[in-house]
Symmetry: C4
Subunit: 131 residues, 4 copies
């Protein structure tokens, strides 16, 4: 009854998150309540995907690329807080992220901010920007 | 004055939610304040729709498919917490979900996290991935 | 330097919000802290737009249509809580909404839930479902 | 291995945010906890972009345009609270925003509401409305 597109969504190779900002303060036990920006990616292809992330700032040159690899049929949730090489992302600083992959992926962005004692969440799909 | 597309939106057969993660802790009376990931689906077709959900993880093979059916002109809000067969989804674990239907549907994702005493919400449309 | 598409975005005539659910409880002074689902619409056309909203439920026939009119170059933020005719929307009940207009509009959905004493917000663009 | 679309996402020239509303109250130290609506923009083109923002209200004529410029390969996070010229945006008032640029940009919208003592966040991509 089902067509065989099951588990084979199309995906895109280029995604943009304009509204990045790692919150400065954290309340509660880490890592569960660590304030963070999270990049969630699904690779539903049959091959490993190599992902490059470039970070754009308001007042300086872009940083990166940061590299991730993701095995076939795997999902990863990566914290922008953990992007260390070539340089760590500063906290409490506005940024935008461009996520580029060599095979189609699907990307979602979310934020957890525990800086005001209570937890606050925000999330949205990223914008796919393939020409 | 209106054209007769009213109540007949197009929908898509394949949707992706990369950023799943059922929160570990709950505060407040259940089920109203249970921490959860929710899948909201509208079937505005004239026939029943059969929906298959596959769950992708970071470090193991995908799980599923999980099956849902949805009657014509009906909406359902299903908790990922309640996906039991073929196996329960673990709490506090990153996952991605691919939602595949045999007729067009519309899918939204949301999270309620009451783990820090206050309620936190996040929501976004899913990504439609029909080729 | 600018082309004259300024203020004339395209819009769509058919939008879907699968994840409706008016929260049951409210904390804090009303109306500022009233728990609610909000439908935000922009009419950037030159003529009045007539909007029909149909509400889909899990276990009963759809309700509506509910009618709104929106003057040219005006925005409205309407609470689903305030949809009274032909019948009020029940609180604490899952629903989906289909928003159909006779001219192109742009639609966003948001929720404010103050039921756990602290405020919680969620928001997303609606899904445009024009064939 | 990578094609050279890296860092060159397509973007759009026209974006719409229907659900604007700057929260009235703030709790906590400013500016970190100031309640606000934020417009996040990435210019990944090679040239400066000029951005016009028009604000639509429920019961009066549109206001603006408000002007922003954004250097090539830069991101900006601008608060609607800070739009002063030609006139300040009122707090606690529903509005919609149309963002028009002379080169392709990517736009995200978010809200921080600290009015109920705890922080609440909401975010979504804007709707791209290029014809």
């Amino acid at each position: 009854m089902h067509d065989n597109t099951v588990n084979k969504p199309g995906g895109r190779k280029l995604w943009v998150i304009p509204g990045g900002h790692i919150p400065l303060h954290t309340n509660g036990p880490e890592p569960e309540f660590t304030s963070r920006d999270t990049l969630s990616i699904l690779n539903c292809c049959e091959q490993m995907v190599i992902i490059q992330i470039t970070i754009f700032y308001a007042h300086r040159e872009p940083a990166g690329p940061y590299f991730l690899t993701l095995a076939p049929k795997r999902a990863c949730h990566t914290w922008f807080n953990d992007f260390i090489f070539p340089e760590a992302l500063p906290l409490d600083t506005d940024y935008a992220a461009v996520v580029s992959a060599d095979s189609p992926i699907i990307v979602q962005f979310s934020r957890q901010d525990t800086g005001s004692a209570a937890n606050a969440l925000a999330g949205s799909m990223a914008f796919y920007a393939d020409e």
